[in-house]
C-alpha cells in the first residue's frame, strides 16, 4: 500500500526513533497518526504497518482492538464527540450532556452519523476533572460544558462541514 507522502515521512520519522531491534514499539504511534491522516484504519493499512514493524497482521489487530482511541474495524466520524461520564463529570452533569447529545444527534455509544461526519462515544475519565463536566471533540477539550454550550458546539460541527 502506498501512503500519502506526508504520512510516509511521518512513518520514517517515527520508526527512526526506535532502535531497529525494537521497531515494533513504533506500532501505536504509527497507527494513531495513520488514523488521523487517513480518517480510518483499513485492513490494507494493518498489513502495511505489520510489514514495516515486523509483526504479523493479527498482532496489529490485537493492539488496535485493545486501545479505545484506535477505531478498528469500524471508523469513527470526522468529528468524534467524546463525553465523559466518570465521577467528576457525573456529579456536575455529564450524564445529562450524554443524553442530550444522544437525542440531538440520534446516535448511541460508538455510533456514526449516516454521512460519516459526526460520531459519539461515552468515554472514561479524560483527565479534565477540574473543569468538569468536560467533553472532547477529536483532540480539542471543552470545559464546564452546559447543555446550551453543547448545543452550540454541535451546531458548529454541522457548519464546519
Amino acid at each position: 500500500m502506498t501512503l500519502p507522502q506526508e504520512l510516509e515521512q511521518k512513518f520514517s520519522e517515527i520508526i527512526g526513533k526506535y532502535p531497529p531491534e525494537y521497531k515494533k514499539s513504533a506500532l501505536v504511534p504509527l497507527l494513531l497518526y495513520s488514523q488521523d491522516a487517513l480518517g480510518k484504519i483499513t485492513p490494507e493499512l494493518v498489513n502495511e504497518v505489520a510489514r514495516r514493524v515486523g509483526v504479523f497482521p493479527l498482532q496489529v489487530e490485537e493492539v488496535l482492538t485493545y486501545y479505545s482511541m484506535l477505531h478498528f474495524p469500524k471508523p469513527m466520524g470526522k468529528y468524534h464527540v467524546q463525553i465523559c461520564t466518570n465521577v467528576s463529570c457525573q456529579l456536575t452533569g455529564g450524564p445529562e450532556l450524554w443524553e442530550l447529545a444522544c437525542k440531538r444527534l440520534g446516535l448511541g455509544h460508538k455510533e456514526v452519523s449516516a454521512d460519516g461526519l459526526i460520531s459519539l462515544e461515552e468515554v472514561e475519565c479524560i483527565g479534565a476533572c477540574s473543569w468538569a463536566p468536560a467533553i472532547q471533540i477529536n483532540y480539542d477539550f471543552h470545559h464546564f460544558v452546559t447543555p446550551e454550550k453543547l448545543d452550540e458546539l454541535l451546531d458548529n460541527l454541522r457548519q464546519l462541514q
Binding site: K24, N47, G54, F56, P57, L58, E62, T65, Y66
Partner: protein
C-alpha cells in the same frame, strides 16, 4: 554449575537449580500447584492467578509460575488462605463461563472442571447475565466457543512460539477479550490442532471429536502415526474398533505432545467406506469378490507356475508396512520365489549416507538430538511442511537453548524466522552454496545436518566430507518420506542390498530389477505389489503379467490387479517401524477392519499354501523380530526399550557397504502437511483442508522475525 538453592516446600526440604520456577520444583516433589496459563516449554504470562502460593516473609500471595526459587525460601502450596484465593479466582473465571459441562467435549478431562471440584467454587455471587458470544467454526477442524474461553493464552503461545505460525491472537480487552483467528473469521494455518489439545477447557474443539464420545468411554492406544517418516507417537482414542481421536497428551514417545494435522486428524482413512474388505480375483476382465482361501490358493498356484516356467517375478515393497513385513517379504521373494527383483519407491539416499558413515558411532542424529544440538543445518527441505516434528524440535531447540540454525533451501522456509543464515540455492546446487557457511559452521561446537532428496549420490559423500572438514562433531539425518521408508531400506527392499546393508551380489544373488526396470520389462511374468501404488502414473510394459496387489484401497495399481488382497492399516497391526532418524518403535494394534489382514499374515498364508511355511518361519511379529535382531545389522536393539514404548536407534553398519545405488532412483514424493501419498487421498479430513493450505509463505506473512 552454580550451587543449588535450598528451600522448603510444604515442610519438605528441596534443592533446585538457581532460576528454576517454584511451580516446576514443587511438581518435581509431587506437589501439584494448580495453573491454567502456565505451560512448561512456553513463555510465562501469569494471567490466571491460580498458582498463588504463600512465601514466608512476603506479605502477598505470589504466582508460583513466575517465582524463581530463592535460598532459604519457605513456601506453602496448600493453606486455607490459598484455597480461598483459588476459589475466588475460579468464581471469577466462571462469571462468564457457561455451565454446559454436560454437552461440552471437554467434560471429564477439563482442567477448569477439576479445579472447581477441588476448590468447591460451585456457587457464585454474580447474578448478572453472562456475556455470551456464539460459537464459530474457524476451519474444517477448528471450532471456537468464546464463552468457554478462560483466556489462558495457551493456544496463542503454542501457535506462535511452538509452531511459528502466529495464527491466533487476543483481540478486544477486559471482559470482552477474545481469542481471534488470523483472518477475521477463519484460520489460515497448519491446522495442526495443537491449540485444541492444549486448551484447558472446551473453548477450542475439533471437528473430528465434537459430540462423539466421552474420554472415559474410549480405549487409549499409543501407537505410531502412519503418515510421514518422523515417527510420532499418537494416542488413539478408540471405541468399538472406531478411531475417534488422535492426540498425545501423555507425552509418551519421541514427539512429546507434538502432532501435526496428519497425526491428529488423518486417521479417518482407516474407516473410509472405500476400504477393501474382501479379496478379489479377476474373472473375465472384472474383479470379483472371492474368499481368502480361494484368493490365496490362486496366488500361490500362479506364483508356483510362473516360477517353474522360469518367468521373472517382480516384488514391490513399501514404506507403509512394518519392518517385520518388509523383512518377511524380501525373505519370501529371495528364498521362495528365487527372485532378487525387489524394490520400493526410494525417497532418500540412506545407503550412501550409511556407507559414508560406516563404523562411526554417534554419527546419526536422533529426533531428540535436533532439540539438543548447539547448531542445526537444514538442506533442501521445507521441514515445517514435509517433516513437521523435526521442524518443531529445531524450533524448540532455538527457543529453549538458543540453538543456531542454518538453512540452504530453494525457497523460503519457516526456519527463516530464526536462522543465523538462510541461503537460497537451487536443488542440486546446495553443496556449492554450503561453502558460504563454512566459517560460521566451523565456529560452532557441534552440528546436526538434515538433508532432503536433492542431496544424493556423490553429493552425500561431499556433504560428509564437508562435515568432517569442519572439525566439530557432526550428526546427520537423511530425510525419507513415509513411516517406514527407512525400515524398507534397512530390510533390503532393494535389489542391490540384503537386510542390514549386505551386498546382494556378494551373497551370490542374481542382479535384480529395480522398480522402473520391472515396470518397463515386457517379459515380466508377475508383479507383486505390497501397499504401494507404482502404476499411478505409469503403465506396466508387460501386459500379460500376473499382478498381485495388497492394499487398503482400490488404487490405480489395485485396479490393474489380477488378485487383490485387502490389507490392514498400520493402526491395525503389530510390529515395528523405523523413523527418519533410524529409531525403531513398536506399534500397538488400535482397531481392526473386518475382512482385511495384516500383510505379514497374507504373505505367511501364501507361503503356507506353497508348502514353504517351515522355511519362512512363523508369521508372528515377535518371532520375525527375533530373527531380524539376529540377522539385520543394527537391529539388535534392546527389546525392553521398544516394548515399553521407547525408541531405539539403529547404528550404521560397521564396515563400508561398498554397493553403489543409482541416485536417479531416489525421489521424494514431497508430501506437504496436507498430503500423504495414497493414505492422504483417502482421508476426507485432509482433503477438506487442501483448500486452505495457508498462505503462510506469501506476501506479508513472510517475515524475518529477527526481533521475536
Amino acid at each position: 554449575m552454580a550451587d543449588l538453592v535450598k528451600l522448603t516446600i510444604d515442610g519438605i526440604p528441596v534443592e533446585a537449580a538457581p532460576g528454576s520456577l517454584l511451580i516446576e520444583v514443587a511438581r518435581r516433589i509431587g506437589k501439584e500447584i494448580p495453573a491454567f496459563c502456565y505451560y512448561d516449554g512456553f513463555s510465562q504470562v501469569a494471567a490466571c492467578r491460580m498458582c498463588l502460593v504463600e512465601i514466608e516473609g512476603i506479605p502477598k500471595l505470589m504466582t508460583a509460575c513466575t517465582q524463581p526459587v530463592g535460598e532459604g525460601m519457605v513456601v506453602r502450596t496448600e493453606t486455607p488462605k490459598l484455597a480461598e484465593a483459588r476459589k475466588g479466582t475460579l468464581e471469577f473465571l466462571l462469571t462468564n463461563h457457561p455451565l454446559d459441562c454436560p454437552v461440552c467435549d471437554k467434560g471429564g478431562e477439563c482442567e477448569l472442571q477439576d479445579m472447581v471440584f477441588r476448590y468447591g467454587a460451585s456457587e457464585s455471587r454474580y447474578v448478572e447475565i453472562k456475556h455470551h458470544h456464539d460459537e464459530q467454526q474457524w476451519s474444517p477442524v477448528v471450532y471456537f466457543d468464546p464463552a468457554r474461553c478462560i483466556l489462558c493464552y495457551r493456544c496463542v503461545r503454542v501457535c506462535s512460539e511452538g509452531m511459528g505460525v502466529n495464527a491466533l491472537g487476543v483481540v478486544q480487552r477486559g471482559a470482552y477479550a477474545e481469542i481471534a483467528p488470523n483472518h477475521t473469521d477463519h484460520l489460515e494455518c497448519d491446522e495442526c490442532g495443537a491449540c485444541i489439545d492444549i486448551c484447558p477447557v472446551g473453548a477450542l474443539t475439533s471437528d473430528t471429536y465434537r459430540y462423539q464420545t466421552r474420554p472415559w468411554e474410549m480405549n487409549h492406544v499409543g501407537t505410531i502415526c502412519t503418515h510421514c517418516s518422523n515417527g510420532c507417537k499418537t494416542t488413539l482414542g478408540v471405541r468399538n474398533d472406531q478411531i475417534i481421536r488422535g492426540n498425545n497428551r501423555d507425552r509418551s514417545g519421541i514427539n512429546g505432545e507434538f502432532l501435526c494435522v496428519k497425526g491428529r486428524y488423518a486417521f479417518d482413512f482407516n474407516e473410509s467406506e472405500e476400504r477393501l474388505t474382501t479379496p478379489m480375483i479377476r474373472k473375465g476382465g472384472k474383479l470379483e469378490p472371492a474368499s481368502w482361501s480361494d484368493a490365496v490358493r490362486f496366488v500361490a498356484g500362479k506364483l508356483k507356475q510362473l516360477k517353474e516356467a522360469g518367468r521373472q517375478i517382480g516384488v514391490v515393497g513399501s514404506g507403509r508396512v512394518t519392518n517385520e513385513e518388509s523383512y518377511y517379504l524380501q525373505k519370501f521373494a529371495r528364498q521362495v520365489l528365487g527372485t532378487n527383483s525387489i524394490d520400493h519407491e526410494r525417497s532418500g539416499d540412506v545407503v550412501t549416507l550409511l556407507d559414508a558413515l560406516a563404523g562411526r558411532a554417534n554419527a546419526l542424529a536422533t529426533v531428540d538430538d535436533l532439540y539438543r544440538a548447539k547448531a542445526v543445518l537444514v538442506i533442501g527441505s521445507d521441514l515445517a511442511h514435509q517433516h513437521p516434528l523435526l521442524h518443531w524440535q529445531i524450533r524448540a531447540n532455538w527457543r529453549h537453548h538458543a540453538a543456531h540454525t542454518y538453512s540452504v533451501t530453494a525457497g523460503p522456509v519457516r526456519e527463516d524466522q530464526h536462522t543465523v543464515a538462510a541461503i537460497r540455492a537451487a536443488e542440486g546446487a546446495e553443496m556449492n552454496a554450503l561453502e558460504q557457511l563454512r566459517d560460521k559452521l566451523s565456529a560452532e561446537s557441534e552440528l546436526a545436518i538434515v538433508f532432503g532428496d536433492s542431496v544424493k549420490g556423490e553429493a552425500v559423500r561431499q556433504l560428509v566430507s564437508f562435515g568432517d572438514s569442519l572439525g566439530i562433531p557432526v550428526k546427520y539425518v537423511c530425510l525419507v518420506d513415509y513411516v517406514n521408508s527407512r525400515g524398507a531400506m534397512d530390510m533390503g527392499i532393494i535389489p542391490e542390498l540384503l537386510p542390514g546393508y549386505q551386498s546382494a551380489a556378494a551373497a551370490g544373488l542374481p542382479v535384480g530389477l529395480t522398480l522402473p526396470q520391472m515396470l518397463a520389462n515386457e517379459h515380466l511374468g508377475a508383479l507383486w505389489v505390497v501397499n504401494a501404488d507404482p502404476l499411478r502414473n505409469t503403465r506396466l510394459a508387460a501386459k500379460e503379467a500376473f499382478v498381485i496387489v495388497q492394499d487398503l484401497f482400490l488404487t490405480a495399481t489395485a485396479q490393474q490387479a489380477d488378485v487383490l488382497l485387502p490389507s490392514a492399516s498400520l493402526y491395525e497391526k503389530l510390529g515395528t517401524v523405523t523413523n527418519v532418524c533410524g529409531e525403531v518403535q513398536r506399534l500397538t494394534k488400535a482397531a481392526q477392519t473386518m475382512g482385511a489382514k495384516a500383510d505379514l499374515e497374507i504373505i505367511g498364508l501364501i507361503a503356507k499354501e506353497l508348502g514353504m511355511a517351515s522355511q519362512m518361519g512363523p508369521w508372528i511379529t515377535d518371532k520375525v523380530f527375533a530373527e531380524m535382531q539376529q540377522v539385520v545389522a543394527g537391529y539388535n536393539v534392546p527389546l525392553p526399550v521398544i516394548a515399553t514404548g521407547g525408541a531405539a536407534q539403529t547404528l550404521p553398519p560397521a564396515v563400508k557397504i561398498g554397493v553403489e545405488t543409482d541416485p536417479a532412483l531416489i525421489r521424494s514424493a514431497r508430501d506437504t502437511q496436507f498430503t500423504s501419498g495414497t493414505l492422504g487421498s483417502y482421508s476426507k479430513k485432509l482433503d477438506s483442508l487442501l483448500e486452505s493450505p495457508g498462505s503462510l509463505y506469501q506476501g506479508e506473512n513472510v517475515l524475518a522475525l529477527a526481533t521475536q
